[in-house]
Structure formats: C-alpha cells, structure tokens
Amino acid sequence: MAVMRDMIPPFELYQPTEVDDAVRLMRQHGDKGWVLAGGLDTFDWFKDRIKRPEAVIDLVGVEELRGISDGADGGLDIGAMTSLTDVAENADVMNRYPLLAEAAGLVATPQIRNQGTLGGNIVQDTRCWYYRSGWPCYRAGGNVCYAATSQSMNREHCIMGASRCVAVSPSDTAPALVALDAEMVVASTSGERTWAAADFFIGPDIDIERMTVLKPGDLLARIVLPAPWEGARWYFEKVRDRKAWDFSLVSVASSLRVEAGMIQDARIVVNSVAPYPVRLRAVESAIRGRAPSEETGQMAGEIAVEGARTLRHNDYKVALMRNLVKRSIRDAA
C-alpha cells in the first residue's frame, strides 16, 4: 500500500464547460497537463507525488460528456463522464446491455461508483504496486521490471501479453466493452476519431508507458454500444480476494448469439491476465457452430490458456482463466 504523504502538490486548475475548450487546454498543456474525471485513479498518484502535472483540466463541468442516450444507428451512446452508478442502474443499459451494467456494478464500492466515471474506469492506469509506488520501472521510463524477478511479489501480475512489463489491466468495464464491440470516440483539437474497443487498449509491445491509444491532448468523449450485440446472451464473472471493494484477479466477459441451439457468433474476453483485456479470437472461432455445452466450454478453456506463461506466484491464474472461459460459454444466459 502506498505510503501516506500529506497534501497534493500545487497545480493550476481549469474547469472548462465545453469539449472544445477542454481539448484546447489539453493540447496547450501537453504532457504537463492531466485530465481529471472522478479522480479515483488520479489522487493516489498526486498524493504520492509520483505524477506531478502543472495543469489539471477538470471535466466536472462539461455537461455534454455526461449521460446516456440512443445512438444514431441504434445502440446506445454513453458520455465518458457518466458515473459508474448511472451506467449500472440505467434502465436502457440494464435491459439492452446487461453485461455492461453488471460489470460497472461490480467495480469497487458504492462511493467509488457514484463518483468514478465510465471514461476514467476505461482509461485508468495499471495497479502494479511497484509502478504505483514510484519504482523506476520500464513503464515509468526506467529499464527494469521489479515484478518479474525471482523475488518479486507477482501474484496479481500477468500470464500473457507481457513485453518487459508484466502489469495487468485492472478495469472491470473494459472486458465487457470489448465483448460488446463497443467503440470509443476520441476528441482532440484535430477532430474526432473512433476506435474499436479491442484496438483501444494496447500492450507494452506497442507502448510500454501507456495502457490505451490515448496520447496527451486526446479526450475520450463517449462510448458507443452498437446495436448487433443488444439483447445477446451474456456472462460476466469477476473473481477477487474479497467479495466487495477489490480489483479482479481474473474476470471474464462474453456475448453469445445462439440460434437453434448452436453458437452463431461469440465474443469472449478475459481481463487481469494481460496488460490489456484479451479477446480470445481462437476460442471464438472454435466454438462457432457448436452447442454452448460443458464440452464446448471445456475445449474453449483449454484453447484459451494455450501459451500462458506464469510468474513465480500466479500460476493459479491459468486454472482460473480456464474455468472462467468454460463458464462464460456454458452458463451464458
């Protein structure tokens, strides 16, 4: 756990009310600026004095970033500043995309969900404690991974997707969004750009200092849930040490379209096993045309963990992932 320090070092604070002003300020301050949403990932960094931005751009007053509405082509648009509670308890999300409602409702605690935003939950940084304690690791611009040595405490770290850094993606909503083929709409001073959720999250092989495609100056404006997965069969399970308040050890999210007892199409996504939510494309194609049965699930679990590489203390994640993938097919409803 973090060492307790006293107050947050000073910064200049901006509270724009329009997206245009927000992105202009973000561009102006570049990597010395920091976007503030709910602050629940942010303030640890500030209090520990590991991240020290000169300017904080607080989005609390940007109304157009908040709220849930029908999308232009069916589906649902969710503003990045919408609270996790509003996502979890919104009737449209609950009825049409219960997978996301479930995932959002399992994040942390009521207070964190009331204040934390969907955008912040997606963009949040990893929880590797070496990194978060300010150790000069690869991700922090250094040249060593403290979590991957023979002495390291790495029970929570990754079993796949590592590239020097072995930290995992901690977000509960991220795997659900990938399993729904969600799109991330990113605003900057040069306009809007849309990313598929599966491409939005990146591994250390692409950029070791970032978890997503966002660069300084990029604002995640809204999340688009497309119509095709509306009302599909789904499954979400988050395994953690405590039944509340805790990050996942491994989580799984699935969307399944089943016709005449056979899987027509599927998205199977596992998180907290790699530095990004892992979409299991090999599993998805292997289960197409089969019944969502125990046997299919069993086979899927085996395929899912192929190539897993464990660290000293995290081999339990392989068995966990295998079983969760099985359940995500067998028990999807």
Binding site: M1, A2, M4, D6, M7, I8, P9, P10, F11, E12, L13, Y14, Q15, P16, D21, L25, L36, G38, G39, L40, F43, D44, F46, K47, R49, R52, E54, A55, V56, D58, V60, T85, A108, T109, P110, Q111, I112, N114, Q115, A244, W245
Partner: protein
Amino acid sequence: MLQTEAIQARRGGFTRRKFIKGVVAAGATASVSGYLFRGSGIFAPMLTAQGAVERLVTLTVNGQQRRVDVPKYETLAMTLRYQLGLTGTKLGCDRAECGACTVLLDGVTHYGCSILTHSVQGREVTTIEGLEQDGELHPVQQAVMDEGGFQCAFCAPGFAMSMVGMLEKNPNPTREEAAVLLSGNLCRCGDYDKILNTAMRAAELSRSRA
C-alpha cells in the same frame, strides 16, 4: 500527521505569500515542486493563469452558503475539517479505501478525501453535522444511539452517512442488501455485525417516521 501539516501550512500562509511576492517581483520563475513545497513552503502557483479557476469559492454545506479561500489542490475533507471546522468528517486512509470521510453530494455518497473542493461548487454538501433537523436526530443517528453499534466509533460518521445514502436508495433493505450498500466503509474494530444491526434499525425508524 495530516492534521498538523495542514495546520502548519495554513498558519504559514501569510509569510509564504509575502515570500512569493518577493520572488515574483525579483523576476524569478517559481518552481511548483512538491518537495520544495514541503520543505521551503512555496505555496500554490502564485498568479492565476488565464482561464483558470479563482481560489475563492462558495460552497453549500448543510444548507448554508460558505465563502472559502481554497487552494486548488485541496480535497473536500480537508476543507470541511480545517477551514470550516466540520471535524465530524474523518480522514482515515486518505485513499478512497475506508469511507471514514463519506459525505453526501446532492444526496449521494462520495469520499470527501478523494474529490477536489473546487469540483463540488454548485452541489449540496451534507456532512454528519447536517443530519440533525431542529433538534431532532436523524433516524440513522437515533439508531446509533439505540444499538450502540460502534466500538471506538472513528468509522461511525462515515458509516452513518452511508446509511443515509443507503436509505435513499433502498428504504427497506435486507441485511445482505445493507451489507452491499455499506461495503464502501471499513471498520477497524471489526464491528460489522452491530453496524448492520444499526443499519436495519435505522431503516425501521425511518419507515415508521415516513
């Protein structure tokens, strides 16, 4: 530690501002460094940059309008405790983990330690001091009295605020539902069973008053 440093920082405010003026007058660039801030006491970026917020804010706390001069990096729990004297709001972890700092913003529970005071302008802040109305205890407060549900009670104000938030959402919770709704608060004395008795009693009292 938190308390004394916050107080020291405030006491030193005047001299610091004078010192900063001197720096600005001398044409030097003031460095905004946390370590410097801690040791030598350089305070806040001294000139408000264009378009940035002003330090003076108006807060609505327990139904009253309060004008306060708040550093931009200050959290709500700090402002409540050390500027407004509302020490019922506790600081436990200062890390969004324990719930001792729970307050209501527009009736919804938030961790006061993990939100900037500047971000709550225009919202209704309710602290434990604001629960009593015209000498009558809030059902949650009455339930705490009836059940004696705490040991050291450091966690009690935070739990009480979460119970108010809980009743807002679910006036008739089962014990399990109450446990989930109160899961953002920790009790160092491990008194959860009696705390849940208190929560159930609070729900009962509040229904009978309604």
